[in-house]
Amino acid sequence: MSIDRRKFLGVAAGASALVLAGKASVDALASGSQPKQGGSLANTRWAMVIDPAKCLKDKGCTACIAACDKVHNIPDFKNPKHVVKWIWKEPFKDAFPEQEDEYTIEQYKDKPFILMCNHCNNPPCVRVCPTQATFRREDGIVMMDWHRCIGCRYCMAACPYGSRSFNWLDPRPHIAHLDPDFPTRTKGVVEKCTFCEERLARGEGPACVEACEAKAMVFGNLDDPDSEVRQLLKARFSIRRNPELGTQPEVYYLV
């Protein structure tokens, strides 16, 4: 079979274009969890380590939840269908449904666990957001841009942990005390825990961690080998919620 130079060049060009287009589309589809540029956030990977044993000592304590609610102007909707919560308690069997077992450690079986957004390293919510209103920062925090959110709630469908809340109504009338240092949100946008990124920018720690009297929550930088979170994870076994889904959550529970 003979082939002239023109035909050969044409086939080569066509094949290269196809390969490049294929690579580009695979990249585009996978780029959901790539961190955004900018900021001096390299070499930081924020994580939270929670020790449920310490937390449960003071049963009924909700200091972390109250602190978050106050500092972020979380509205209090009486209708449970409309509840907005960034940090909350859930019984062990619901926080870790795949661990359901009748012989689960007595210590934890019916006790509440503190849950919040896991700030996954491979977040499905970021992958699905059509406007990049939720995006993963270089330092690992999965951020919310409430100016861009169109309220499609696709991220709520994608989150395997139930971490996200939607403002079904105007939140302002349902906020007891407005803290002017942090904006409220408006109806029609999704919100969730942001690891107190506004406090981190000021050099403070997350409000829940600082409010916990039992010191059950430790927040720190996983990329720093000397950080307390690294030491804790080295010393003790920990579990994360639904790790088999590949989301790589950054909230660890010491057991």
Binding site: G38, F135, I175, P183
Partner: protein, 131 residues
């Protein structure tokens, strides 16, 4: 010209409608003098020159918004070298403490209703909710 009356009435109605902006102000006693925002007394300089702020404060705010939320930046170096946090309530409203007497004056005159206030808090409002 059977419909002379109807046409004439229609023309008068149209003229009344089209000159509405002129005679309404005169009749209501309001003048079109222009907005009169009350300037703050604490500081003399804003984060940018006056003329720029007059024409483009929205551009500045949008740029601040994207820098703070999407690029995790906090500090802004003003034209006179001073640094400020890029915050609406925390910086702008620290000097312009009375939103109604400053911001709203021009906004109402120009007929714009920026939705920033749906989320960003006016400290005077927060005061009322606390007290």
């Amino acid at each position: 010209m059977r419909d002379k009356g109807l046409i004439f009435a229609g023309l008068v109605f149209f003229l009344v409608l089209i000159t509405f902006p002129v005679w309404y102000d005169l009749a209501a006693g309001t003048t079109s003098k222009g907005p009169d925002p009350k300037l703050p007394t604490a500081e003399k300089d804003c984060v940018a020159p006056l003329e720029y702020m007059r024409t483009s404060h929205m551009d500045l705010l949008l740029s601040w918004r994207d820098q703070v939320v999407r690029q995790d930046r906090l500090t802004y170096k003003a034209f006179d070298g001073k640094t400020y946090d890029m915050r609406l309530t925390g910086t702008c409203l620290k000097c312009h403490t009375n939103k109604e007497e400053f911001c709203d004056r021009c906004h109402t005159y120009a007929g714009v209703a920026p939705y920033c206030w749906e989320c960003h808090i006016d400290p005077a409002l927060a005061q009322r909710s606390r007290g």
